[in-house]
Amino acid sequence: MSALDRKLWRDLWRMKGQALAIALVVTCGVGNYVMFLSTLDALSTTQVAYYRDYRFADAFATLERAPESLGRRIAEIPGVARVQTRVAVQVRLDMPGFPEPVAAAVVSLPDDGRPGLNDLHLRAGSLPAVGRADEVVASETFAAAHGLVPGDRFDAILNGRRQTLTLVGTALSPEFIQQMRPGSMMPDSKRYGILWMGRRALGQAYNLHDAFNDLALSLYRGVDVEDVIDRVDDLLRPYGGLGAYGREDQTSHRFLSQEMEQLTTLGRLFPAMFLGVAAFLLNVVIGRQVAMQREQIATLKAFGYGNGQVLVHYLKSVAVIVGAGVLGGIALGSWLGHELAAIFTDFYHFPYLDFRLPPAVVAEATVASLIAAGAGTWLSVWRAARLRPAVAMRPEPPPAYRETRLERLGLKRWLSQPARMILRHIRRRAFKSLLAVLGIALACGMILTGLFQRDTVGYMMHVQFGLMQREDLSVTFTEPTAYRSAFDLVALPGVRHVEPFRAVPVRYRHGHLDYRSVVRGFEPGGDIQRLLDTDLRPVALPADGILLTDYLAGLLDVRVGDRIVVEVLEGTRPTREVVVAGLVNEYLGVSGYMTLSALNRFMREGPTISGAYLGIEDGALSPLLRELREMPRIAGVAERRQEIRNFHRTMDESMLFFTYVATVFAIIIAFGVIYNNAQISLAESARELASLRVLGFTRSEIAYILLGELGLLTLFAIPFGLWLGEGLCYVIALSMQSDLYRVPVVLVPQTYAFAATVVLVSAVLSGFAVRGRLDRLDLVAVLKAAE
């Protein structure tokens, strides 16, 4: 090893605390980037492979009933590669040992082999035997939630008839990576499942011999999906087609895509913040290092070391620090990526997840870190390297201090000499002080971003389930039912209050934009189900027109007063225009709202309901659920508390994971920034402070001068950081918007207090660390040393 490299390592060893702090910040940044991006890579490569291997369809359609021959005509549409006609129905199940009614989608499997599209990945058992009407395969998550194994039996109500089914296998499907019950907020694999059954058996149960009500098709590469969809719609229209749609609108695919977009945003936002902080710290630390070694640089150059060699020498030390951080970050990131991928494998029900460390991600993280490091250090190192040796040998000209504006304003009288020193010092190093404030503020803001998700989830729960959906149970009938059925529910033991509702699947259209969702109708003035505006004031249902979730209005690009087309996707399927009468604020789900009677009129039907919200008496839940289970016309029951639990579980799995990671990282940053700043201040002022000690100042008095500056900067940084943090929270909230939920930015006072406290504690601890060194300041040595 050359003598210069030895110097490098010893210099690094001497500044190990600071170097470690910077390396840790880089580790956090790179770790974040690698975690997000490798997970994203794993998700997308797995998705592509899974879709390909199991032939996930490119377009889908549901319809009332069409003869099998229509499938052949659809196959003749130019661009269509393969058509799979199916029978798909929603059924109710009675699971043994589970008191609540359970809903399921049953999808047919061809009797003559594996499905040509949307193939199953069998996890256990086998496919139903040909001709066996009682054999089904269940989605693995559903089977797992109920502890089902092949051979187990349970009852289903198929087309109004109770039938006992035997589970012969469990499977995964690319079509149901995310299994969401239509109209539900969150996945709940205990109360909603997917079943697959032989085509003939299912067709017979639903009078669909040689006919189908569901369609999946694949296209040749490069074919315009919209074009094919239009042609399919034309062919399906006479058969009650509900409108074909591409992958983009397929529930499971859509949620997966949104999750991936979120990852991309977060995967860039957090690392950028960390690397920014690392650049700042390197700027401070290496800048100081170079300044302190001015004479050493001069000596090296006096003996014939060139500018390039000096430059490389200092850049090497930057590279070592950053390199260590990058290596740590890659290790941390791939570990966290594994964890996150495991969460996603579970959440999305992939048969496998190809997690690997993509070289491109590692390379990007490394290059980004080096760029950040270069940005932070290049200038000071380059300047030092170019310094003429004789100039470097001379002490730096004494800094030019001036009175601060604060003093000129007349405050001088009240400022002690040490206070003036603090102010003038900050003023002279205005840019550096600003950077320090920015660094501390960033740490403070980051803590907010880590915690805001927790606050927000609490708030969303409060609004959604405390103010809007206040029922204990919601009951759905198997099909639209006469209004008087509500009275049957009122008569049930333990039921305190009933508010019937009508829910109609529709397609909203405005111009070229469209969105499939539901219209919900209920009676105005209800106590259980309420709609709120953004200020949480109840919104009355209009006598005419429709209210839309504000997010839906955004998707359709409509404003209050605009007319939209509502295409009903059930019954007689009327298509009508309605006026958007207002917007409601909802954090979960997307729908439109009308009064029950207006919706009935809209549907040209008598008083009809789809279900009801129930308020029940304490302790009445279990007997009531048993009672409801015995009523065949009830398709499903959702318990509010259960929805809350589901919501929390989903949030815990996907969001809160980041909360802890971000908070820990933020604390590292806060500490790194403040500690480094304190160290640098000490190094820079050591001589000055030693002189004061010689003049008779006490240790506390000089500590006041040194730490006073740090304290002042920290106090400036905290409000700024809280403000910055709020901004970052908005960016994150915006990136998390999806059909599933919109995240408002809610920050409770305790969160602000926590962020401020972490920063203050970091400042105080750094202060103590520096104070310790200040107390050990060797006066004689400091004063004797040549500047």
Binding site: Y305, Q309, P398
Partner: protein, 245 residues
């Protein structure tokens, strides 16, 4: 006193020819005129002592001779080459191959041992001694693996001399080499400098404001207010050991 200090009987070969050399620099908000038209020749193999009070410009001259600084005006020729015309790379090569420097405050790299400080130079020189040989020459063969803080001032300065001569430079430039040392230690250091001058034939320039040191020089150049005041040949050159102050 002639205007051109070189005009002397049977002038030996010059290693440096300095003509009308001037140097001004900015020090904070003050403009400092360090050299105001210096004319001087320095000879191959001689030991010249530059005497003068602080601020007289002698360090500035030394820095320019050593390629640490560039003049504002005038000419410095090192063996027929004009230093003022050197670009940065040429200047670096010049320092690397021709010049050895000894500073008042030693300027050792604190994170390197004595041996490593010398190696710093031998690693980039063309025909260096080994660090061990250089350190043995200054009498520090036993303390090679000590860090600067473990060495006395005199020892540190001897390391600095070993570092400066290890590359076998044509010129050894010493800026107040004894300025930070007590007299007996200073004598030891001067003895090493004189030995290098004698044994290696290195042209040596020593700056000092201590006139006693001038007694060991071949020639004494007196400086004042940025100009050469006088150049005297020392007929009665003493050895370092004979000096006291």
């Amino acid at each position: 006193m002639t205007d051109y200090a070189s005009v002397q009987p049977a002038a030996p070969r010059s290693i440096f020819e300095i003509r009308e050399l001037s140097k001004t620099y900015q020090m904070g908000e003050v403009l400092v005129e360090a050299l105001r038209g210096v004319n001087l020749d320095l000879h191959e193999g001689e030991l010249a002592v530059l005497l003068g009070p602080s601020g007289s410009g002698k360090s500035t001259l030394l820095n320019i001779l050593g390629g640490l600084d560039v003049p504002s005006g005038g000419q410095v020729r090192y063996r027929d080459r004009d230093l003022a015309l050197f670009d940065d790379a040429a200047m670096t090569r010049y320092r690397r191959e021709h010049v050895g420097f000894v500073f008042q405050f030693y300027n050792l790299i604190p994170s390197l041992t004595a041996r490593e400080n010398v190696a710093l130079v031998t690693e980039i020189a063309r025909d260096p001694m080994t660090p061990e040989a250089a350190l043995a020459m200054v009498g520090l063969g036993e303390r090679m693996d000590h860090f600067p803080t473990q060495l006395s001032g005199g020892e540190q300065q001897r390391v600095a001399i070993a570092r400066a001569v290890s590359k076998r430079p044509q010129v050894l430039l010493c800026d107040e080499p004894t300025g930070a040392l007590d007299a007996p230690t200073g004598v030891l250091v001067l003895d090493v400098i004189a030995r290098v001058n004698r044994e290696l034939g290195t042209s040596t320039v020593v700056i000092t404001h201590n006139s006693v040191i001038a007694e060991m020089a071949d020639r004494i150049v007196r400086f004042g207010d940025g100009r050469v005041l006088s150049v005297d040949t020392n007929a009665d050159r003493k050895s370092a050991a004979e000096l006291t102050w």
